[in-house]
C-alpha cells in the first residue's frame, strides 16, 4: 500500500477500471505519450495501448461529442478537458446532450461517461487556466458534478464516476494535486457519489466546502479548535446533485454555518446551499449564513492571484463573526 497524491489517485483509479472493464477508454489532448499536461494519464497509453488511450485533435466540442457517441454505444469514455477554462467550447454538448440523452430517449440511450478537468487557481498559471465554474454545470439537471478534495476521495469517487450509468463532470483540484499523500489500497473500492463527507465533527459551527478549499477549511477548523471554537467540517464532494440533508442535519446541531468556496460569490454552489438552508433549516439558524468566497470578479493573473483566493484567516475571521453573532 503506497502513499499517493491526488493526481496519482486519479491515475490509479482510471488504470484500475481500464483493467477491469474493456469498455473504458481515455481520450483528450496530450493524454497519450505525454500523459496529460499534469500527468493524470501518465503511463496509461504504454499500458493500455494507443487504441484505448487516444490523443485527439485539438477541439473540446469534438472531445465531448465523441464521448457522447461512444457512450451511447455502451462504451465508457473518460474524456479529458485540459483545463476547466477550456470546457466552454464543449458546453453545448454537455448541456444540450450529455445531460439529456437518457431523459429524452426514455432510457433507451444512456451516457456512462466522465468528463475530467482540472479546475481552480493558485498555481501561478496563465490566463484562463484557473477557473472554478462548477456552478454552471451544477445548475444543469441530468449531470453529476464531482469535486474530490483528497487522494482517497479522488480514487473512490473517480471509480464511482466511471461506473456511474450517467454522465459525470469530474473536476480535479489541481492546486492540491500533489499537496498531500494518502495510503490507498488499489482495490477498486469506490466512494458513493451524491453524498457529503463529514470530515470533522463539531458543535459550534458547520463549515462546508469542496475540492481544493477543503484544505484551507480544515486548517481553519484546527486553528479555531485551538481557540475553543468547535467546527464541524463537511466535504460536499458531489456539488450536484447536492446532498443537502447532511448539511441540514449539521446545521440543526450547530446552528451556524459558513460556506467556503473558491468561485466568484454570486450564483455559486454556496448560494444554493445557503438558499436550501434558508428554505428548510432557517429555524435552526442562530446567525446569518456566512460565505467565504472568491470575489465577483475575474480571477486575476498570477501576481494578484493570492489576493483573490480565500485564505485560512478569512475563514477564521468570518467564523468568529458568525459565532459571535447575537
Amino acid at each position: 500500500m503506497a502513499a499517493i497524491t491526488l493526481i496519482e489517485a486519479v491515475n490509479k483509479a482510471i488504470a484500475y477500471e481500464m483493467e477491469a472493464d474493456k469498455e473504458v477508454v481515455v481520450f483528450g489532448e496530450d493524454v497519450g505519450i505525454n500523459g496529460g499536461v499534469f500527468r493524470a494519464t501518465d503511463g496509461l497509453q504504454e499500458k493500455f495501448g494507443e487504441e484505448r488511450v487516444i490523443d485527439t485533435p485539438l477541439a473540446e466540442a469534438m472531445i465531448a461529442g465523441l464521448a457522447i457517441g461512444m457512450a451511447a454505444q455502451g462504451m465508457k469514455p473518460i474524456a479529458e478537458i485540459q483545463f476547466m477554462g477550456f470546457i466552454f467550447p464543449a458546453a453545448d454538448h454537455i448541456i444540450s446532450h450529455c445531460a439529456r440523452m437518457r431523459n429524452r430517449t426514455r432510457g433507451r440511450l444512456t451516457l456512462p461517461m466522465v468528463i475530467r478537468a482540472p479546475y481552480g487557481g493558485g498555481i501561478h498559471a496563465p490566463e484562463n487556466h484557473s477557473e472554478s465554474t462548477e456552478a454552471i454545470f451544477a445548475h444543469i439537471p441530468g449531470l453529476k458534478v464531482v469535486m474530490p478534495s483528497n487522494p482517497s476521495r479522488a480514487y473512490g469517487l473517480m471509480l464511482a464516476a466511471i461506473r456511474d450509468p450517467d454522465p459525470v463532470i469530474f473536476l480535479e483540484p489541481k492546486r492540491v494535486y500533489r499537496i498531500e499523500k494518502h495510503e490507498i489500497e488499489d482495490n477498486g473500492e469506490e466512494y458513493p457519489l451524491g453524498m457529503c463527507f463529514v470530515d470533522r465533527e463539531g458543535t459550534d459551527i458547520t463549515l462546508v466546502s469542496w475540492g481544493a478549499m477543503l484544505h484551507e477549511t480544515k486548517q481553519a477548523a484546527e486553528k479555531l479548535a485551538a481557540e475553543g471554537i468547535s467546527a464541524e467540517v463537511i466535504d460536499v464532494a458531489t456539488v450536484s446533485p447536492l446532498d443537502i440533508d447532511t448539511i441540514l442535519e449539521s446545521v440543526e446541531k450547530t446552528g451556524r454555518i459558513c460556506i467556503v468556496q473558491e468561485a466568484p460569490k454570486s450564483g455559486a454552489i454556496g448560494s444554493e446551499i445557503a438558499a436550501e438552508i434558508a428554505e428548510k433549516g432557517i429555524m435552526n439558524l442562530l446567525a446569518p449564513i456566512g460565505r467565504v468566497s472568491g470575489y465577483d470578479t475575474v480571477i486575476p493573473y498570477y501576481r494578484l492571484e493570492k489576493q483573490y483566493m480565500p485564505k485560512i484567516e478569512h475563514i477564521i475571521e468570518e467564523v468568529k463573526r458568525i459565532v459571535e453573532y447575537r
Partner: protein
C-alpha cells in the same frame, strides 16, 4: 471505391513561375457531380446505371418510400394546422435524399439524424408514429422500438455530426463491419461542429458518411449567403476526406453514392461527404412563412425538378406504372399513415412524474420531493 476528391501530393513537383512568384503545386483536388436520372425521368448517359437501378421493383419500392414521406409530411402539416401537432419540419422536395441514403443503410448501421430527417429515419426503422410523437410533444417519440441504436434528432444544429463520429469510433474500436450515416442541412455546415467532425473522421479514418441536404435555404437565409464555396462537397477537402456532389433529386444518384460510401466505410475505407443538391419546396417549418423571403418563380421551377415526379415519369416510360398503381399506392400509404396518426393521437399524455423518471438512473434524493410535488400539483 468512390474517390472523388482526388489529391496529388508530390514534393517533387516542378516549380511553376507565375509573375515573379515561385510556386510549386503541392496538392490538387477536384469535386465531381453525379447524376443518373434527369428531371424528365430519363437516364442521362449511355452508361450502365447501377445494378439496383436496373431492377424495376427496387425503383418502385423507392418511389413508394418517397411518397410515404410526402404523405406523412402533408398529414403532419394538417394536424399542426388543426392544433394537434407541434412545430413540424416537412421534407417536401427532399425525399430522395433521406430515402436514398436510408436505403443504403443496413439494419446494423447507425443513423444519427438531423431534425428534417424523417425520410431517412423512417427508412431505417423509426416508426412514423414515433416521428409524430416527437414533434407532437412526447419524449417517448425518441424511444425507438425498432431503430434501437439510432440517435434521436439533434435540434442544436450540427451537434449530431460529432455524435456520429463518436458512434463510428466505437464501431471502429470494436472491429465491427458497419457504419454510421449522419445528415445535416447546408446551413448547418457553417457550424464549427460540422468541421470538427469531418476533421476527426478524416484523421481517424472513421466509418461514417456525412450527408449534406443542400436544400438551398437555412430558414430565410439562402445558400448564397451561407458560404463562399461553389460546392458544399469541397468542405471535405479541409479534412482530407473524400466527397462528391450529387443531384439530390435523383434518388439513383443519392443511393448509388451512399451505397459506395457505406461499403467503403464498412470495409475500413473511412469517411465520405455526399452533398445532395435539392430544394426545400415547403416552408422551413409550420412556424415559418417562406413567402416573406422566397424569390418568385423559385417554387414553380423547383416543382419541375423534384424527385418523385421524375421517378414516376421513368416508371411510366417503362410501362411499369399506371395511374391505377398510383391511386392504389396513395390509398395504401394514406392508410399506413393514418394508422400511425391514430396511434399518435391515441397516445395518452404522460403523468407529471414522467418529467423525472428518466433524468438519472436513480433520481437524486433532493429531487424526489420535487417529483412528489409535481404529482400532487398535477392531480389538482
Amino acid at each position: 471505391m468512390l474517390s472523388t476528391a482526388d489529391s496529388i501530393y508530390s514534393k517533387e513537383s516542378v516549380p511553376q513561375t507565375r509573375g515573379a512568384v515561385v510556386l510549386t503545386t503541392v496538392a490538387r483536388f477536384e469535386i465531381k457531380y453525379q447524376q443518373y436520372m434527369d428531371e424528365t425521368g430519363t437516364f442521362i448517359s449511355n452508361d450502365v446505371p447501377p445494378a439496383f437501378a436496373r431492377d424495376i421493383d427496387t425503383l418502385k419500392q423507392l418511389y413508394r418510400d418517397m411518397n410515404r414521406v410526402r404523405v406523412l409530411d402533408q398529414k403532419a402539416y394538417a394536424l399542426q394546422r388543426t392544433g394537434k401537432m407541434g412545430t413540424y419540419p416537412a421534407a417536401t422536395g427532399q425525399e430522395a435524399i433521406g430515402v436514398g441514403f436510408g436505403s443504403a443503410m443496413t439494419k446494423e448501421d447507425v443513423l444519427v439524424p438531423y431534425y428534417r430527417g424523417q425520410a431517412s429515419m423512417i427508412q431505417h426503422g423509426v416508426l412514423m408514429e414515433e416521428v409524430l410523437l416527437y414533434w407532437g410533444g412526447y419524449e417517448k417519440g425518441c424511444d425507438y422500438q425498432v431503430a434501437k441504436e439510432d440517435f434521436p434528432i439533434a435540434v442544436p444544429i450540427a451537434t449530431q455530426s460529432l455524435h456520429a463520429t463518436g458512434v463510428a469510433k466505437a464501431i471502429q474500436m470494436r472491429g465491427e463491419k458497419r457504419c454510421v450515416f449522419t445528415e445535416i442541412g447546408e446551413g448547418g455546415t457553417s457550424q464549427g461542429d460540422f468541421y470538427e467532425a469531418l476533421n476527426v473522421a478524416g484523421i481517424w479514418n472513421l466509418p461514417v458518411v456525412f450527408i449534406i441536404n443542400n436544400n438551398q435555404w437555412a430558414i430565410s437565409v439562402p445558400s448564397e449567403l451561407q458560404t463562399n464555396c461553389e460546392t458544399y462537397a469541397q468542405k471535405a477537402i479541409a479534412a482530407g476526406i473524400d466527397s462528391v456532389q450529387v443531384d439530390g433529386n435523383d434518388i439513383v444518384a443519392v443511393k448509388e453514392a451512399s451505397d459506395k460510401a457505406a461499403e467503403k466505410a464498412r470495409n475500413g475505407g473511412g469517411p465520405t461527404v455526399i452533398e445532395c443538391i435539392s430544394l426545400r419546396l415547403c416552408d422551413h417549418t409550420t412556424a415559418d412563412d417562406a413567402t416573406r423571403y422566397r424569390p418568385e418563380g423559385e417554387l414553380d421551377d423547383g416543382w419541375t425538378k423534384e424527385p418523385i415526379i421524375r421517378m414516376r415519369k421513368y416508371l411510366e416510360s417503362k410501362s411499369a406504372w399506371s395511374s391505377e398503381d398510383e391511386t392504389n399506392m396513395l390509398e395504401e400509404l394514406a392508410a399506413e399513415v393514418q394508422q400511425a396518426v391514430d396511434n399518435y393521437l391515441n397516445t395518452p399524455v404522460d403523468p407529471p412524474e414522467a418529467m423525472f423518471d428518466y433524468l438519472y438512473e436513480e433520481l437524486p434524493e433532493k429531487t424526489v420531493a420535487q417529483r412528489e410535488l409535481a404529482i400532487a400539483r398535477g392531480a389538482k
